[in-house]
């Protein structure tokens, strides 16, 4: 089994499949752990799969006011989430054929496009809460954008490229790369970006039903049936993609396959999901330690993330990072 050698494009499709099929599992484990921390039994680990399967069997209801944008939004977003795993190191240390077709900026653009079409679809529905969610998501998305840019600057300064594979290789290369302040600051800033982008506490209660505090969740309130299934699935995939970038590019790019052997790639799949679940555990702990920020306090949170990213770049320029 360990001697079967896979073709590069085979591994590439395995990357997409890992994200596609593993994402609901990671999300299920996280919400199960969260329930445990709160003294509940928590939903079953496989619950997200059941939810998605159930929604695919339901009918789609569309309001009179909405147009084709409402229906195509979820599909385009899902396609975007299927594209990003080709650009980032999900399973291998070596770049795959399509790995160089887009840098971090390119991946960021595709993720932003997905966020944009979902917000647009929500706004198209004409429902006030979905519109509110769409407008809020775009507002906070715009505010977090400078932070993401400075994280990319820091990465670009450290590796002199902006390819995710290059940074992962740089981090793996030596211990002094791990402790250099600009890397730690950029990683910490990106961690806060992941908190904001996946809609977790302290920015948003991701499992709540109170519309006033909603940002990302509110966008999808009007969708139903298969469209909603795609949106939910897409949300878990976005979460796993961001986790993967945080883990395999910034924090712990170990356990990736260095060869094309089936065994090594299979091991890398398990390692990625295990690392993502550990990160999910951390997020569940954060969920229980902090309370949700007031909506107008979120700018302060984003300002702190921005501070970390800017300091990362500044320390590099000062010559010590």
């Amino acid at each position: 089994m360990g001697l079967i050698v896979l073709s590069p494009s085979g591994i590439q499709s395995l990357q997409v499949l890992t994200i596609l099929l593993g994402a609901p599992l990671v999300s299920g484990v996280t919400s199960h752990l969260e329930g445990r921390f709160q003294g509940r039994r928590g939903p079953r680990i496989l619950q997200p799969y059941y939810d998605i399967a159930k929604l695919f069997r339901k009918e789609t209801l569309v309001t009179d006011e909405s147009s084709w944008v409402f229906l195509t939004g979820p599909i385009v977003a899902f396609a975007c989430y299927l594209t990003v795993p080709m650009l980032i190191p999900v399973l291998t240390t070596f770049p795959l054929p399509l790995g160089y077709t887009g840098d971090i900026l390119g991946g960021g653009f595709i993720l932003a496009l997905a966020g944009f079409v979902v917000a647009l679809a929500g706004t198209e529905s004409g429902a006030p809460y979905a519109q509110l969610g769409g407008s809020r998501a775009m507002t906070f998305g715009a505010l977090i954008e400078p932070t993401i840019l400075f994280v990319i600057f820091a990465v670009a300064l450290i590796t002199r490229t902006d390819l995710p594979y290059a940074l992962a290789a740089t981090v793996r290369s030596s211990a002094s790369q791990m402790v250099r302040p600009s890397h730690i600051l950029a990683a910490a800033a990106f961690f806060l970006v992941v908190l904001v982008d996946t809609g977790r506490i302290p920015v948003e209660t991701h499992s709540g039903t109170l519309e006033f505090g909603m940002i990302d969740e509110a966008r999808t309130l009007e969708h139903s049936g298969p469209a909603l299934a795609l949106l939910k699935w897409g949300a878990t995939m976005k979460q796993l993609i961001l986790y993967t970038i945080l883990i395999n590019v910034f924090v712990a790019p170990w356990g990736l396959a260095a060869t094309k052997n089936l065994g090594a790639v299979g091991l890398a799949m398990v390692a990625l999901l295990a690392k993502a679940m550990l990160l999910g555990l951390l997020f569940a702990v954060i969920d229980n330690l902090f309370s949700k920020l007031r909506l107008f306090k979120i700018t302060e949170f984003i300002a702190s993330a921005f501070l970390l990213a800017v300091l990362g770049v500044l320390v590099f320029y000062a010559g010590g990072g």
Partner: protein
């Protein structure tokens, strides 16, 4: 400029960054008590940095400095200020005209100025990376921002004390073999400031029942 820093340089610069980050956290902290605790934490990092430099570069005087600043700045001064705070029943720091997010953005701008100013000096040091000097300069500048924006005596005192922390980091960079007596003189300077600010807090609160600096002109004899 584009060399990879050694692990030693990375760790020391990282600790200096931690000092700067706690300065920023003080700018964000709404409670006076948490501000004092942040100062204690910052001083702990500074004395840890001194001990780390002492251990790696074999400069024995720095151990004394680390011990002294641990006793004074981590235990004694914060304890004293917390005690004064317990007597004055004020919890919240005097908020400034500017919101927290804008204050942080201003401080980022100011510290960027500090970074570029030091960067153009081309100072090099044997004990610490140059970036630590730039960070120390940023700490001093952000402490100024804290003193300027906050309108209560405690924040201003803490801003002044943490400014001294920035100077300590700078002195570790520029002259880690600085005669011990000079460093100790620095610390006694701090003690004088503590006494002065302590008296102000005490008297101001006793006479006017407030810690706000906007009422400071009511202290006329």
């Amino acid at each position: 400029m584009y060399h990879v820093p050694s692990t030693y340089q990375g760790v020391t610069a990282g600790m200096a960054v931690l000092v700067l980050l706690s300065e920023f956290a003080m700018l964000r902290a709404p409670l006076l008590r948490s501000q004092v605790r942040l100062y204690a934490f910052q001083s702990l990092v500074v004395s840890g940095l001194a001990a780390f430099v002492a251990a790696s570069k074999h400069i024995d005087e720095l151990y004394v400095l680390a011990g002294l600043s641990l006793m004074l700045k981590v235990i004694l001064v914060p304890g004293l200020v917390l005690r004064l705070l317990r007597d004055a029943d004020t919890d919240l720091a005097g908020s400034s005209v500017i919101g927290t997010a804008s204050a942080i953005l201003i401080a980022i701008g100011v510290s960027a100025f500090g970074f570029f100013a030091i960067g153009s000096l081309h100072v090099s040091s044997v004990s610490l990376p140059t970036s630590a000097l730039a960070i120390a300069c940023a700490v001093v500048l952000v402490a100024f921002v804290l003193i300027i924006l906050r309108t209560d005596v405690v924040s201003q005192a803490i801003g002044f004390f943490s400014l001294e922390n920035g100077v300590s980091v700078a002195s570790l960079v520029v002259a880690s073999g600085l005669p011990l007596i000079v460093d100790v003189a620095f610390l006694f300077d701090l003690l004088v400031a503590v006494v002065v600010f302590g008296v102000i807090m005490r008297v101001h609160h006793m006479r006017n029942e407030t810690l706000s600096t906007t009422e400071l002109d009511r202290l006329r004899g």
